[in-house]
């Protein structure tokens, strides 16, 4: 399942610069709003589902090398967060649904 398919199926909004999302295949996922848990638990190439939308999400996503961050409940990061994400090659996606629904749908799609 490529990131392109995930974006289409979950109707996600791409917040950062467009990329060739069909060349990116996330492997599994991680969900938490606690950054230390993400630092400890997320694996490289996971999708990370969170409600957090501030600058440190970018730092954690970059250090942990997740394939994309799905920010839920339509939370909108500030412009400088998006700029930073582009600089650090971090992909930020926005979902209007809450985390629980997003995770459920990802699981059903086989992102396990």
């Amino acid at each position: 399942m490529t990131l392109q398919e995930i974006i289409a199926k979950l109707n996600l909004k791409v917040l950062t610069a467009p990329r060739n999302f069909s060349a990116i295949t996330p492997r599994g996922g991680y969900a938490s709003d606690l950054l230390s848990c993400v630092m400890a638990g997320a694996q490289p190439d996971n999708v990370w589902v969170t409600l957090q939308a501030h600058m440190n999400v970018v730092a954690v996503a970059s250090l942990r090398e997740v394939s994309a961050v799905i920010i839920t409940e339509g939370a909108q990061p500030e412009a400088d967060v998006i700029t930073k994400a582009n600089e650090q090659d971090v992909i930020l996606l926005s979902a209007s649904e809450p985390s629980y629904a997003v995770i459920g749908r990802l699981w059903k799609m086989g992102i396990q």
Partner: protein, 337 residues
């Protein structure tokens, strides 16, 4: 390319798709960064409108090109293609001037425009070669898709070489400098409550490790440990503190030092889930009480010296396995971040 590449695994089980994606973005980026004058061919074979069709055929044949711009008094007057010449041939009209058969409705691009503009024009018009003019509408070159591919490849190779040279220089640091004990010390001043820049020092340290030839795994381990330590300085300290990383051929020492407020009960602080983070930090997702626990799992040795009303010193140490040692870093190359 999707299905085969998705199944291809890089070293350490990492799929290579990430890297592919980065390359693709870099190409996309380059098509905006590079200007047409940087990739176009400057050697242009032009014709004059009053030259004959016979002359035109001869130029195209000997130069092995499929079309040429027609220039009058330095200005681009039109373009003549093999198709136009063939029309003249079927009319048996070899002695007529090129002016009679050339297309005057010329699609061209400006030399100062980004390469992406030429790509868009190729896609839109289906032509294979475009004349390039300067701000005074004078012909200065020609651009083809081949020129763009070549230009992009040269730019990418340059990028790659620059990073390689940098890595080469840095990697050999420990071999090139002889001493009884060589260490490289990186220092970062971390400001209190500076959440916006939180993680920046950790990113720089991780990159430095990779340039020194550390494996991706080792760089990640250091990245996690220093990130948690860096965030502790931001969240908890009164005046911020110093993050210091000492890299030696056989070990990495990481240390934070601050001047307060201090940890009253270090053992409690080491318990998973225990946190004294203020509400401001908790709202941002900090304060899980996992920071020190995470650090412990990433390093070989961790020590905390602190007390209420005193400063705190956190020491972390990673011992490098023989195959991870920096002096023997040759051959442990990993793709960068």
């Amino acid at each position: 390319m999707s299905s085969t590449i998705q199944e291809t695994q890089g070293r350490k089980g990492r799929p290579i798709t990430d890297n592919d994606a980065q390359e693709i973005t870099r190409i996309e980026e380059l098509s905006y960064d590079l200007r047409i004058f940087e990739v176009m061919s400057r050697e242009v074979f032009t014709l004059a409108p009053n030259q004959t069709i016979r002359d035109g055929l001869e130029v195209l044949r000997t130069k092995r090109i499929s079309g040429a711009p027609v220039v009058e008094n330095g200005d681009l007057a039109g373009v003549i293609s093999t198709e136009d010449l063939m029309r003249a041939l079927t009319q048996n009209d070899l002695e007529s001037p090129i002016r009679k058969y050339m297309s005057t409705n010329v699609i061209s691009v400006k030399s100062y425009e980004p390469v992406v503009k030429a790509l868009e024009t190729f896609a839109r018009t289906n032509v294979g070669r475009l004349p390039v003019t300067n701000e005074h509408d004078q012909l200065v070159g020609m651009i083809t898709k081949g020129d763009i591919t070549r230009g992009v490849l040269v730019a990418i190779r340059k990028d790659y070489q620059e990073e390689e040279i940098r890595r080469y220089r840095v990697r050999h640091l420990f071999e090139d400098i002889t001493s009884d004990r060589t260490s490289l010390i990186l220092r970062y001043h971390i400001k209190p409550r500076d959440f916006v820049n939180g993680g920046q020092a950790s990113s720089h340290i991780k990159r430095a490790m990779l340039r020194l030839g550390a494996s991706a795994q080792l760089a990640r381990q250091c990245g996690i440990a220093v990130y948690e330590a860096e965030m502790n300085l931001i969240i908890h300290t009164t005046n911020g503190g110093i993050l210091r990383v000492q890299i030696e051929p056989h070990r990495i020492l990481m240390q934070t030092t601050d001047d307060g407020p201090g940890i009253p009960d270090v053992n409690k602080a080491l318990q998973p889930g225990w946190s004294t983070a203020p509400q401001e930090a908790r709202n941002m997702g900090f304060g899980a009480g996992m920071g020190l626990v995470n650090i412990k799992s990433c390093v070989d040795k961790m020590e905390i010296f602190s007390g209420a009303g005193k400063g705190t010193r956190l020491m972390m140490e990673i011992h490098l396995r023989p195959d991870e040692k920096f002096s023997a870093a040759e051959g442990t190359e990993e793709p960068g971040i």
